[in-house]
């Protein structure tokens, strides 16, 4: 593997991690907003319990992405930084409001209504903006010579390609988070919440598939180079669809258990994450060697080799050091029965 491939693979892995964590985070915010008024369901509580400890870690992943981009491909960071000034700033503003009010709503219960609205609505808009980076990187909407690039916003927002991506991003967010929360509520013995989230996953899943098809459809005319590259690896796309089907089986298949609930959310979560992994790998591979088509390539934006080596070593060592911390975190919030079943205490208060 060459250094540039190693670098882009690392970056892609980070993007993938973030997109999974981020969708779950944003989606959980939305669900907790949607079910806020239904006092008797514990649906909001489940979402909040997941969200409270995780948002900060998820947020750090955004920073990780930005930093790793300019560590590994400073040339691309230059172009993207210039082009993304407006959408990037919009994301930042919404993110700031959202994170702040998410924290505040847990502390000042009086405000929690307004605050839940804010975090719920931004939880939908932010993924829509974030995913817009992908169609932008396909190049059609970037004008001007290197060093003075500008984004043609009106071209972007009149393109069906963009909207296909936005729909895909939003529904994937809802789908993945509903799936995860159904698993999470099952783990916490919240039968009612489990049923609702499972139902939501069953609805949003197929819709996100439809949007994925629309993305490919519009790509054919808007970014033919990418479309052709992806079709060269169509076996991967088929594999990804296969995992989608497995995920569907996990959701729909009657599952006999003592609590009379249907579905195997754990299987579905794993299958769907694998599905996204394969699909985004296929997309990423087809995108190469371009980062922003056609001006920025891996080669012309790569960092200094000495810096690359140092950065790469740091990533490996620091990740290894921090792994136990992540493990402990997972144990405490995703597995520990005492945390998951905090219900009684909470309702007493």
């Amino acid at each position: 593997m060459t250094d540039t491939i190693l670098a882009i693979t690392t970056l892609w892995l980070f993007v993938f991690f973030y997109s999974i964590l981020g969708t779950m985070d944003f989606g959980a915010g939305f669900w907790s907003f949607l079910y806020f008024n239904k006092e008797k369901t514990k649906v909001t509580n489940v979402a909040n319990r997941y969200l409270s400890p995780t948002w900060e870690v998820t947020n750090t992943f955004i920073v990780l992405l930005v930093i790793s981009l300019y560590a590994l491909f400073p040339g691309a960071a230059y172009t993207l930084g210039t082009v993304l000034l407006i959408p990037g700033s919009l994301i930042l503003l919404l993110l700031a409001i959202r994170s702040a009010f998410l924290v505040f709503s847990h502390i000042a219960t009086k405000y929690s209504k307004v605050l839940t609205y804010i975090s719920g609505i931004t939880g939908i808009i932010i993924p829509a903006l974030l995913i817009s980076v992908l169609p932008i990187s396909h190049g059609n909407y970037v004008e001007g010579e290197k060093g003075k690039e500008v984004l043609n916003l009106s071209a972007l927002f009149t393109s069906p390609h963009e909207y296909a991506f936005v729909g895909f991003g939003v529904f994937s967010t809802l789908f993945l988070s509903a799936l995860l929360l159904s698993d999470y509520s099952k783990e916490s013995n919240e039968v009612e919440a489990f049923k609702i989230y499972r139902k939501n996953a069953m609805i949003t899943g197929p819709i996100s598939l439809v949007f994925a098809i629309l993305v490919m459809w519009t790509m054919k005319s808007e970014a033919p180079w990418l479309f052709e590259n992806m079709m060269e690896h169509s076996s991967m796309l088929l594999l990804s669809v296969l995992f989608f089907v497995i995920g569907g089986i996990g959701l729909y298949l009657p599952y006999f258990s003592k609590r009379d609930v249907k579905g195997m959310p754990r299987l579905a979560v794993i299958a769907i994450v694998i599905q996204y992994f394969i699909a985004s790998f296929a997309y990423g591979r087809a995108h190469l060697p371009y980062i922003v088509y056609p001006i920025v390539t891996l080669e012309n934006s790569f960092t200094d080799p000495a810096t690359f080596r140092a950065v790469f070593i740091v990533i490996i060592i620091c990740s290894a050091i921090l792994l136990p911390g992540f493990y402990l975190f997972w144990r405490l919030f995703m597995k520990d029965k005492r945390y998951l079943s905090q219900q009684k205490q909470e309702s007493k208060k």
């Binding site: 995780t54 994170s99 620091c318 911390g325």
Partner: protein, 452 residues
């Protein structure tokens, strides 16, 4: 206004806002640890309640500190793509390591806040130490990038082409260690005095007969001692930071002191305003020979004046005032702490009202010193982003019409600022010290359980 000025103002506003929360984010965990340790030592409930209440404050401040920090990091590449392209090739290690410091802080902060009752005491203290370490490390690492801007090292740049890169040499650039120490010491000082100010404010409000008075007095004591000690270290280390300026960025020191002519036995001027026309500091106080001595530990040290540099490369002259604000505040904090120590700890006399009023002022003053220190450090580096290598104009984005962006960010910062203050007030009005004492006495009710 031209776009470069707007870009600078926007970034400066972001940083000026972030730094308030970032400084407290470094300073508060230290005080939380001290309170936890005091509790382990004395078994006095009050200390554990302090730790809890400060943790709560810290968690609320994180709600602004983290998003504004995220903005800062991203804005660097949105507004200064030229700068970040160079940083990406040469000086990205601190950013990359900092991410892990953030992770450390984020993971253990969540564990400390949301899992406190499920942890044994030693594990709770350990989480707290890791949070404090993570926050301190992020401050050190970001200061590293800042020190690199002033004293770049580890690469060559000719006609915009970078070569001969040694990332670790850049990392350990000449002013890294002293700058990082300065930033951490000042954050500890400021954190301590800000809490002391709140305690003093409460003491003034409720008066000595109230049953909470003693609680706040204990808090004030540990904060003033801690703050005083760190203020003393700050001054000693600030002296070394100034010597680094003398060595590496002489025009910045000259502007800070309003010194135009190169001379030995140079005077130190306090207060006053630098006048460009007459080339002197007006209405100031001059301490003869002191600047030479401070810069090189000898009165014979030659200090370079502004006239030795082309005028287009002079930093703005108002940095003199910023530098003064920082240094004078630092001195005052030391005197204040020492005075309280002698008055109350030695002579055992009650703290009078006027003294409490001064303590109330010390918190905002320390924060102002942080702000002026940073604005001095960043503005005093003008016209460069990387000293003598990359100019600010070449760093900036080529996008135009930044005005609306500046306005939107300003509005959002205003909203966040108002919201964070109201949430703090709301929370602490609803959860008084008495409530916490009651909870602590009722063993069954978890003290930290009221957190979520």
């Amino acid at each position: 206004m031209d776009d470069l000025v707007i870009a600078r103002s926007l970034f400066g506003t972001t940083m000026g806002f972030h730094i308030i929360f970032a400084t407290l984010g470094v300073g508060l965990p230290l005080m939380m640890i001290i309170a936890e340790l005091m509790y382990q030592k004395t078994k006095d409930y009050h200390y554990v309640i302090m730790a809890k209440r400060w943790t709560k404050t810290f968690a609320i401040l994180l709600g602004v500190g983290i998003p504004t920090g995220t903005i800062a990091g991203t804005q660097l590449s949105l507004l200064w793509p030229g700068f970040m392209e160079v940083i990406g090739k040469v000086m990205v290690l601190p950013f990359q390591i900092e991410i892990y410091a953030f992770f450390l802080e984020a993971l253990f902060m969540s564990i400390y806040v949301y899992a406190a009752e499920r942890l044994p005491p030693w594990a709770r203290t350990l989480s707290l130490v890791l949070v404090a370490f993570g926050a301190m490390a992020s401050a050190v690492l970001i200061s590293n990038v800042h020190s690199f801007e002033g004293t770049p090292a580890g690469f060559k740049m000719e006609n915009g082409v970078i070569s001969d890169v040694h990332p670790w040499v850049a990392f350990f650039n000449p002013s890294f260690i002293v700058t990082a120490i300065h930033v951490v010491l000042t954050a500890y000082t400021t954190g301590a005095f800000v809490i002391a100010a709140v305690a003093a404010f409460k003491m003034l409000r409720i008066g000595p007969k109230n049953k909470d008075y003693l609680f706040h007095k204990k808090a004030l004591k540990i904060c003033v001692i801690t703050g005083g000690i760190f203020a003393l270290f700050t001054a000693l280390n600030g002296h070394v930071v100034t010597q680094k300026l003398h060595e590496y960025q002489p025009e910045k020191l000259a502007a800070a002191e309003g010194l135009f002519e190169t001379q030995d036995h140079a005077p130190l001027s306090l207060l006053g305003f630098t006048d460009r026309e007459t080339q002197e500091v007006k209405y100031g106080i001059e301490i003869p020979w002191a600047l030479s001595f401070l810069s090189g530990n000898s009165f014979d040290t030659e200090v370079i004046g502004l006239n030795d540099f082309p005028e287009e490369e002079w930093p703005p002259l108002f940095v003199h005032t910023l530098f003064n604000l920082m240094v004078i505040t630092g001195g005052m904090l030391i005197v204040l702490a020492l005075f309280i120590y002698l008055w109350n700890f030695r002579r055992k006399r009650e703290l009078p009202k006027w003294l409490l009023v001064i303590v109330v002022l010390s918190g905002p003053l320390a924060m102002m010193a942080i702000e002026s220190g940073w604005i001095f450090a960043c503005t005093g580096r003008q016209p460069w982003t990387i000293y003598r290598i990359l100019s600010t104009a070449d760093s900036a984005t080529t996008s135009t019409n930044l005005g609306p962006l500046f306005a939107s960010f300003a509005v959002v910062y205003a909203i966040l600022g108002i919201a964070v203050v109201s949430v703090l007030l709301y929370y602490f009005k609803r959860n008084t010290v008495q409530d916490d004492i009651y909870r602590a006495e009722q063993k069954g009710l978890p003290l930290y359980g009221s957190n979520s």
